[in-house]
């Protein structure tokens, strides 16, 4: 390798390589231990189950790259799901419009996070911890513990249907991955995210509109949570106020497993994609092998710790004492 190859690029590529190897090892082991695992039907179904976490993990990658965090995604997810039911069932809004409005509610919730984070300089961790409770409370208050059912058949195409033999939501996910990947790697917006994560002060002194960018990514997080919420309702055919509880943990685990640094400045969409794929395959494969739920969580936790150790080891070997 020549001197001009960027160390940061080499580093992330290496981390992704580690994940890729882990992914193939898991696939190999699980296909032997669980007969039904390595079938097209099962794998596509896993893609279906994974989509909601995956859609939210994409904007979460952006946010964590800026050294921020959004803990309220599960609650925004739940709130959007509830509002879909409320708009359509209680207020009589046509379903397509209700879907749009539900996503708009998610976006507004994210925008509110961003507004307080940028205007009042509340740390994202505190702000979104507060709205995690707030939005969940709103969802429960509005729904009053009643679930909404009886959606029309066409609505289930989104969460249960297929296009060209592939689950509908997987197409949405693929498009979203491509868009997020292009934005992060090819645009001034993506570049600004890295700069903010490494050194927010210097980014401000470079005339980068830091507050506006933060507002956009937190709103985006709300929007994607809303979209995931709507897809989830379509997948499970019902709306309940506790939907998406604990979603933030799965999402953050996937992003961090993907090599995005919680300290900011480092992370890729490819890493995140590998992160959520690996977690989903482990969950499914272990379940099919007959491992109990508790043990599955232990395995996933172990994989997370191992991946971080390996990354740290690689970083130290590259002499990161700059």
């Amino acid at each position: 390798m020549s001197d001009t190859t960027a160390p940061r690029m080499r580093l992330t590529v290496t981390h992704e390589l580690v994940l890729l190897i882990a992914l193939f090892v898991s696939l190999a082991v699980l296909s032997v231990t669980a007969e039904r695992f390595m079938s097209v039907g099962n794998l596509l179904n896993q893609g279906r189950l994974m989509t909601e976490v995956a859609l939210v993990a994409l904007p979460m990658t952006f946010i964590i790259i800026t050294a921020g965090i959004d803990l309220s995604v599960g609650s925004m997810f739940g709130l959007s799901a509830i509002m879909l039911g409320v708009f359509w069932h209680n207020l009589g809004v046509p379903l397509p419009a209700a879907m749009a409005l539900a996503m708009l509610v998610g976006t507004a919730a994210g925008f509110f996070n961003g507004l307080l984070i940028t205007r009042l300089r509340v740390p994202p961790l505190i702000m979104t911890l507060a709205t995690l409770a707030l939005y969940r409370g709103l969802a429960e208050g509005i729904s009053q513990a009643r679930s909404v059912r009886g959606y029309p058949e066409w609505f289930f195409v989104l969460g249960q249907g297929e296009m060209f033999g592939v689950p509908t939501q997987l197409w949405i996910l693929v498009v979203a991955i491509i868009i997020f990947w292009i934005v992060l790697t090819r645009t001034t917006f993506g570049r600004s995210l890295y700069a903010i994560g490494h050194n927010e002060t210097a980014a401000r002194y470079s005339a980068i509109k830091v507050d506006r960018i933060k507002l956009i990514i937190y709103s985006l997080s709300g929007f994607m949570s809303g979209l995931a919420g709507v897809i989830f309702v379509s997948r499970v055919s019902t709306t309940r106020s506790d939907m998406g509880t604990g979603l933030e943990l799965d999402v953050i685990a996937a992003v961090v497993l993907g090599g995005t640094s919680i300290f900011g400045g480092v992370g890729t969409i490819a890493g995140t994609v590998l992160g959520f794929t690996l977690i989903q395959l482990l969950k499914n494969g272990l379940a099919l092998t007959g491992v109990k739920g508790d043990a599955t969580i232990v395995v996933i936790g172990t994989v997370l710790i191992l991946s971080i150790l390996i990354t740290n080891f690689l970083q130290h070997r590259r002499g990161g004492d700059g």
Partner: protein
């Protein structure tokens, strides 16, 4: 002359791709101040890190009191009486002065618990022995001034019975007054037999303080000489390997129209009723003590902290500068004082830093053009003679002078018409300094309007066409280049009475 306590012979050290030191000879005697000079990247930092046990040399021998030694950690060097005070002070801001001094080796009572009263007493004694009587050992270090923190760090080093004290650019962030006190302490230590290794970019300090001087260049040993046998120009020649004709090559540039005008601009707490005019081709120097409100004024003009009242005109038109991006659109650029915190994103690549303020220029519709970015970065490297392995080098790996060049070229890439430079040459070596000055001069020739904030009076006097002196957020004096002297400026910076005299003398 006493014998050397610490001797280094034939020391070499390489890092992947770089030979940082080759065949260096260096020694420290008891009761001397030994200055270590060299441009940034000459290997001074590596050498002191070898002496203090941070790095191990690849080749060569170190002897302490005649016996061969090899340190495996800074702790070992400290135990053998070699203490180091780095530029970034390594103190705990949330702990008291006494706790910091005795961090890791606090006096214990017979129950094995920390003996607080003895600790405070010992801390007081240590400080008193350094002729420091105005420092409360129970105050939090975080509340102290930089000068006081440094004194705490020195006391901490002495609490380990240091016989050799290595000081890496101790005066870089100090005020004039603190520098005086530091010199007093260094001389006191010398009289007590401590060998001091002193690194500085300010040659005057070498002549004031040092007994011997060693010069490094590009990782090689150039010479060790008694200070009495060298002079200013001779040292510079040894450092850069060539003669610098003039350190301040400001040439007369034709002054153009007024491009920036401030009228009664106020932003509390440190910009009060400021009025000034800046012409194309002019270098306007702003002098003042630390805390006089110079950087704050720059941040008002740059929109970082927008003006609360008053009028700002660019090219004669009233403008409101509410954000740095608004300032950038008006052609205003600001190269801030603190490279690491404000000026650069040091973990990112050189090319990414150069383009960061002008992303709009290297993109179409928000999409980056990597080709244009690489071209821009290469142009900056050539234009500024940046010493880097390539456009993909991580900026934190560059020397201070080269980092400063990147900070400047990043803003020149926005093609500004008004350039504000805050301490443009602080902490960088003589060669890089001359290049930055030459650059500023050329920019002024091309019609750039420049505001230069500097704490170095020779620099202000040498580079400026006109000088404003600030104190307490106000402009207290305006002096033409021809009339300014170091004394008149210093007087205006310090006191009300003399300031009005300086104004009257105009």
């Amino acid at each position: 002359m006493s014998d050397a306590i610490l001797k280094l012979a034939g020391i070499s050290k390489s890092f992947p791709g770089v030979r940082a030191l080759s065949n260096i000879t260096f020694d420290v005697r008891a009761a001397e101040v030994h200055a270590l000079l060299g441009e940034n990247g000459a290997g001074k930092s590596t050498l002191i890190k070898i002496m203090s046990g941070v790095y191990q040399p690849d080749e060569g021998v170190m002897t302490l009191d005649g016996g061969t030694i090899a340190f495996n950690s800074p702790q070992e060097a400290q135990d053998r009486g070699i203490a180091t005070i780095y530029q970034e002070l390594l103190l705990f801001p949330e702990l008291t002065v006494a706790e910091n001094i005795f961090m890791g080796h606090a006096p214990k009572n017979r129950f094995g618990a920390i003996d607080w009263s003895t600790m405070r007493e010992e801390a007081r004694k240590l400080l008193a022995s350094l002729d420091i009587h105005d420092l409360d050992v129970t105050s939090m270090v975080g509340t102290l001034s930089v000068g006081n923190r440094q004194r705490v760090e020195i006391a901490k080093a002495l609490s380990h019975n240091a016989r050799i004290l290595i000081m890496d650019e101790p005066t870089a962030a100090l005020t004039e007054h603190d520098v005086e006190r530091l010199f007093g302490i260094v001389r006191l230590l010398r009289s007590r037999g401590v060998g001091v290794v002193y690194i500085s970019h300010r040659l005057e300090e070498v002549f004031l303080l040092a007994d011997r001087v060693t010069v490094l260049r590009d990782g090689e040993f150039v010479a060790t000489k008694p200070v009495s046998e060298t002079d200013h120009d001779g040292l510079i020649e040894m450092m850069v390997g060539r003669r610098l004709d003039a350190l301040f090559p400001k040439t007369e540039a034709p002054l153009g129209d007024v491009v920036l005008e401030l009228e009664n601009v106020t932003r509390q707490p440190l910009t009060k009723d400021v009025s000034l005019k800046l012409r194309a081709g002019e270098i306007l120097g702003i002098a003042g003590l630390v805390g006089a409100g110079r950087s704050e004024l720059a941040e008002v003009i740059f929109g970082m902290t927008p003006a609360e009242s008053g009028t700002i005109r660019v090219d004669g038109r009233n403008v409101r500068i509410g954000s740095p991006s608004a300032a950038k659109r008006l052609g205003i650029a600001y190269v801030p004082e603190d490279r690491g915190r404000q000026g650069l994103v040091r973990p990112m690549r050189l090319a990414e830093n150069v383009s960061l303020a002008s992303l709009g220029r290297i993109s179409q519709g928000g999409f980056l053009n990597r080709q244009s970015e690489a071209t821009l970065a290469r142009k900056s490297i050539d234009q500024f003679r940046v010493r880097a392995s390539g456009i993909d080098q991580i900026v934190s790996k560059l020397s201070g002078g080269n980092q400063q060049k990147i900070g400047l070229s990043k803003w020149l890439a926005t093609e500004p018409r008004i350039l504000i430079m805050d301490e443009p040459t602080r902490g960088i070596d003589v060669g890089a300094k001359a290049e930055i000055h030459r650059m500023m001069s050329e920019l002024a020739q091309e019609g750039m309007a420049i505001i230069m904030i500097s704490s170095e009076l020779p620099e202000v006097l040498g580079m400026s066409d006109r000088i404003l002196v600030m104190r307490g957020g106000r402009i207290v004096a305006e002096v033409d280049r021809a009339d300014a002297t170091q004394e008149s400026l210093a007087a205006a910076m310090m006191s009300d009475a003399s300031a009005s005299m300086a104004v009257a003398a105009e």
